[in-house]
Symmetry: C2
Subunit: 430 residues, 2 copies
């Protein structure tokens, strides 16, 4: 049986805590006064719209711009946690998917195992999405109402229901450093009317998300206090909650969504509903228009994006945080990201190729293995093909972001961006 | 196109080298005079029939008793080579399968990539089997004649043919430190007549294997010499060739097979045709009877065996080398080997289990991850389940053998064997 929380659960916990609102206010202000130990975002350097910043969470410091590897079901597919922590990858924050973890193993299991970090054995920061995008992406399998989204589990077909309140309860149980508001996504080609409807629903859900989130944080804080957590225990601090800007490709709606989301007030702001089928130039137009209007003193997170060039271009427009399945998923389907563009290891031209995946890469995969061997592994259906390609791809994404941060801090980002893009466009065969 | 060598290829190379026999003799005696740098086996300590020895190959020293992880298609499934080399695993020798590598990527590809070590990026010793057992295990897909075994590829159904001569050429191209004679295996329940027929064929094939092997070694040596290999280059040394004892469960045939295989003369001797469906006590009877009669000054290799208890019992009877897919294959199907017996991670009792796979294990998997998490990974079809279970299982096998070696060297093997077996029989739930 999968554990399921209902909207009533949240109400119940509010009933059981008559002093919730005042507790929340107190807790919130205590955290806000606590400086470096709580959630904190500080811009250290800028170059044009690009910025290098330091995000301090209760489980460690994250330098931005940052790419967050996706750990859908509590694992970045094909990568051991020791590798993620190694200097070569040094992933400072990874993402977990509320939808997947809620369905399997279920939130009661994860709570019984001490929360998501304890359960999976990872003590660095995490971010959980709200499940909103993933139930939306189920398409015909889901039905969206004012209350939330009903859907059939992709695992066993059972009927499930996710709402802002349930998502907040589940995310509190998971215990990531950053939780996301429960949103609705409109398709890339949504009409103005459709996109407005969706945006308005997302705004109502954002308010409900924030209210439910405050309750969960107050409950968690009281539990920790009862358990004797001390003032020096970072984990007594509340999670952070990010709001999500929607509005499809309609800039007026995007601006309105941004303004009204900021009015609700969150610890950071994300742009959702991009990279969902719209043209690339449409995505860039939205980013170009919206990012400069986002609060400068809060992290800006572009959800589900993207290719290495997307990352660089979005950083140039002021984005701080990214997540994407590309390095991991494409690694599993035989694609390597390289400094000179994508390489499809299935291609017969690599059968005898003694070069590494990327001649400009010094990662452990490129130091040791040839394209010929990795192609052989892929053709033979060997797990090691996915392991090696995923590792190299993650190094490429994370190392690129490291170089981006260094470039911004040293005022060399414009030069870096130009050279990086030129090289990428060279192609592997030239 | 898969590359295929024919029996004629070997004859051709002999024709092209009229002085093959004398070259071979010279080369052989040169190597034999070269002490530590060539293949050498030295027993350092014994306790009862158990022995601790040092096997010196051109790519490094192997302490025995040793367990060789199986790297069928050039990869120990789910394990990066860095892990195999790490102090935690420290695999000194791994096995490659001639059958699989010959079919894919093909020997011409591997030769063009500088041999198997270069191709896969592994510079420690390797052993290749002959392909005999694997084509035999194809069952209805193969047809055995005096010349060799015709079979259909499990990959594309194409007709292929493997013989002693072709196996030796392929194994020379692969370039492992230890090659195996091409043999035929009889089923566990073979009658005396069937087993004798099979054994006689294996003996004729053993002679042909040795003759063809000498040719390949002479050719390789001459090539290396032409390429300017120096006296200090270990890789100029010949490969070692092991003979294989057959005879099913019939002890008289086993003894005869042993005697006549030793008369042909090999660098080491293997017991084949066990663990192929016969009762466990039958296997132990053969081992108990045959191993003490095997040459004491050569390595003794028990092929395809076995469980941790099989390994300990065979060591107690004088076996030095083992290979088996159990730690890797069973890891992929959710089974952990532990100091208290097998653990099936699929079992629902582990859903909330906060213990490591093995409470007596200090490996990186057991230090970090719980049974609950690994079960979740397995249930979710996550690659990391296989990766973690395989890693732990290999640590268990390799660490057990390390402790066996230490025990024999310190005269504590009888005690170790008793305690190890007692603990194994305790079970996980007691």
């Amino acid at each position: 049986m999968q554990s399921r929380l209902t909207a009533e659960d949240t109400e119940k916990s509010a009933e059981m805590n008559p002093r919730v609102s005042s507790v929340t206010t107190l807790a919130h202000s205590a955290v806000q006064n606590d400086g470096m130990n709580s959630f904190n975002f500080e811009v250290n350097a800028t170059e044009g719209a690009a910025r290098a910043a330091t995000l301090t969470s209760r489980r460690g410091v994250i330098e931005t711009p940052v790419f967050m590897p996706v750990g859908t079901a509590g694992t970045v597919k094909g990568v051991r946690f020791e590798e993620l922590e190694s200097p070569e990858l040094d992933a400072r924050i990874i993402l977990g998917n509320t939808y997947h973890l809620w369905l399997r193993p279920g939130i009661e299991t994860i709570k019984a195992c001490g929360g998501l970090h304890n359960f999976i054995g990872w003590n660095r920061p995490m971010l959980t999405d709200s499940g909103g995008f993933q139930v939306w992406s189920l398409g015909a399998l889901r039905k969206i109402t004012e209350e939330g989204t009903g859907f059939r589990s992709h695992i066993d077909g059972s009927l499930c229901f996710l709402s802002p309140e349930i998502s907040m309860q589940v995310q509190a149980g998971l215990g990531a450093e950053i939780a996301m508001a429960f949103d609705e996504c409109a398709p890339g080609e949504a009409t103005h009317d459709e996109a407005r409807q969706s945006m308005e629903l997302t705004l109502r859900w954002a308010k409900r998300s924030k209210a439910a989130f405050e309750v969960t944080q107050a409950v968690s804080l009281r539990q920790l206090s009862n358990e004797g957590a001390t003032q020096t225990d970072n984990l007594r601090y509340r999670q952070a909650l990010f709001g999500i800007i929607q509005g499809s490709s309609h800039l007026d709606l995007r601006r309105e969504s941004l303004q009204r989301t900021v009015e609700i007030g969150f610890d950071g702001y994300a742009i959702g509903g991009l990279s969902v089928g719209e043209e690339k130039h449409v995505m860039m137009e939205v980013i170009e228009d919206i990012v400069p209007r986002m609060p400068a003193d809060k992290p800006r997170y572009l959800m589900g994006v993207g290719t290495p060039e997307d990352l660089i271009e979005a950083v140039a427009r002021g984005v701080d945080m990214f997540d994407c399945v590309l390095p991991t998923r494409n690694g599993r389907t035989g694609q390597a990201f390289t400094s000179r563009g994508k390489l499809n290891i299935k291609n017969a031209r690599y059968t005898l190729d003694q070069k590494p995946l990327d001649e400009n890469c010094a990662c452990s995969v490129c130091r040791r293995h040839t394209r010929a061997f990795i192609r052989h592994l892929y053709q033979s259906g060997e797990m090691l093909a996915s392991i090696l390609l995923t590792h190299h791809n993650l190094v490429f994404f994370l190392d690129t972001m490291k170089r981006v941060r260094q470039a911004i801090r040293s005022g060399q980002f414009a030069k870096f961006r130009r050279e990086f893009t030129e090289q990428l466009n060279c192609g592997l065969e030239s």
